[in-house]
Structures are given as C-alpha cells and as structure tokens.
C-alpha cells in the first residue's frame, strides 16, 4: 500500500472485511463527501443518495484497490463529483417550469443577521452561481483540493480554474451584497 496515501492502510483493512476499519473510513470520509455533494447539488436528500452510491462503490472496490497515481481520497472525489454532475445534467434535461426563477440570495447588510441566516444566504448565492464556478469554488475552498487536483477533476487547466474561481468569487460577493443588478 502506498506509504504517502493516508487512507491506504485503512482501505486495505476494509478490503479484508475489517468492520472497525470500515467504521473508521466512514467517520473520516462521510462528512467530507456529504458536504461536497450537498454543496454541488444544493439538496441534502439528493446528496445523501449520492453518498450512499459512492460508499457502495467504495465497499465494492476496497478489496481490489491498488495504489496508483491517485490517492484514495482523490478517487472518492472523482466518483462523487461524477455522480453529482450526472445528476445535475439530468436536471438540466428536464425543462424548468415557466414560473421558475433562480433563488434570490438576501443581501448581508444587516449587522444583526444570525450565523444561520448568513449560512443560508451564502448557500443560496452558491446555488445561483454558474455550475462551473460553483464546482471550482467547492473543490478549492470547501474540499481544500490542491489546484492541480481540482482542475484535473473538472477536466480543465489551472489557468481556467483560476479564472472560474475569480469570477465565481466576484459573482458571489455581488449577489450577497445585492449589487449584481
């Protein structure tokens, strides 16, 4: 097992049917992967479906996992990311009702705003970003992936990632401050 993959030993034990290792892997990865799916999809129930599908694949693959170029965490991100983008693509194929409008994030001007309200407003602003900007921000900021890994996951170069990040951050700020027209 790869010495520089922090999950390698745990995955090996999961593949041998070690239940304690499976529990430890779930404790380590479930919050991280649920957050990824939740932020990409903007829907908690759908995120939970994705995470269940992801872990089914983890359990199936653990016994044959071999260290290669990618770390296990990167492989999990790739599977989860693809599951989410598949769902987002299917959503786009279903025509939206004529009355549908993108959620309108409330401006954060009020100093009395609670942490929960602020979190909700940022969540709505994230959901209203262009999908590629949202993906870049979620992978880089919340998942803390190195820029090359995030770019590779999205199938783009680092320059394109930086452009998406800058535009996404600007758009997010404008929406939260109510200055985006």
């Amino acid at each position: 097992m790869s010495a520089d993959d922090p999950d390698g030993e745990l995955v090996r034990r999961v593949g041998e049917g070690d239940v304690h290792a499976a529990e430890a892997l779930v404790a380590r990865k479930l919050p991280r992967m649920t957050a990824l799916a939740h932020r990409l999809l903007g829907d908690r129930a759908e995120a939970e479906d994705v995470v269940q599908e992801l872990f089914l694949r983890v359990w199936k693959s653990a016994s044959s996992w071999r260290p290669g170029a990618a770390k296990f965490d990167t492989w999990m991100h790739r599977v989860a990311f693809n599951l989410c983008t598949d769902r987002l693509r299917k959503r786009r194929e279903v025509p939206l009702p004529e009355t549908w409008d993108a959620p309108d994030p409330a401006p954060l001007a009020d100093a009395e705003i609670t942490a929960e309200q602020q979190s909700d407003a940022v969540g709505r602003a994230l959901a209203s970003l262009a999908p590629r900007q949202r993906e870049a921000i979620v992978l880089t900021y919340y998942q803390e992936l190195p820029n090359r890994e995030a770019a590779a996951l999205m199938g783009i170069g680092v320059d394109a990632l930086e452009s998406l990040l800058a535009r996404g951050r600007r758009a997010l700020k404008a929406r939260l401050e109510g200055t985006d027209g």
């Binding site: 239940v19 939740h38 880089t140 930086e162």
Partner: protein, 139 residues
Amino acid sequence: MAEMDLNRFETLVTAYGAAPDRWPDDERAAAQAFARADPRAAALLAEADAIDALLFAHRVAEPSRTLRAMVIEGAPTKRRLTGRARMWWTGLGIALAGASGMLAGSAATAALEPITANVLMYSHDDVPALDYSAEENAL
C-alpha cells in the same frame, strides 16, 4: 523561488483568496515575500479576505446517524467475503465438473465416432477464465 509581480499576485488572491495556505505550493513563498514588500498588496488581501469570510460562513449539516448506519450496513465483512468466496468456489466446481463430464463424454464419443470427437474435445474452452484485470482496471 517563482517570480511574482503585482499582476500575478492579484490573480492569485482573486482566485485563491487571502490565506497563503490555499495559494499554489510553488508560488506561496514568492507571493508572501511580495505581500511583505509591496504596499499595494494589503488592499488586495483585505478585499480577498472579506470574500473568504463570506464563503466560510456557509455551513452544511453533519451527516445524520441514519445515513451513517445505512452506509456502514453495506460494508464488506469477513463473513460476507467468506460467503462470497465459498459461492465462487462452488460455482467454479460446478463449472469444472460440467467441463469434466463433457470431456468424458467427448472421449467416449471419440471412441465411437472419431471425426465428431475432434470438435467436442474443445468444449472445455467455455469454462470462464480467472481474470481479475477488468475489476482492477475499474479503479
């Protein structure tokens, strides 16, 4: 150390924010040195820091205990793996027994009808090969 100028520094902070630990590894030292040396860096960092604060105000709920339990429920256990291996060996046994029977039958047929037997002798090629490559390639 990577080269750093105002233009590249601005690109870095507008993309990755104000925290140096999110800047690319190969440019971090040069960007930090630029931030210390150039008075124009402070305004860019302050603006980026305000957007970082907005981003990190977003919280998502911890996974529920039910979800955790459902996920762990599907994990492989020694008992399941043993059961699966036993089923696999049983299946292989049946397949080999079938192939042996066909071979024996073909041998008997060969004794009676040599021309037809030449065709039947190769029927054991139908036994599935033990090939794990497809599963490993899936990773």
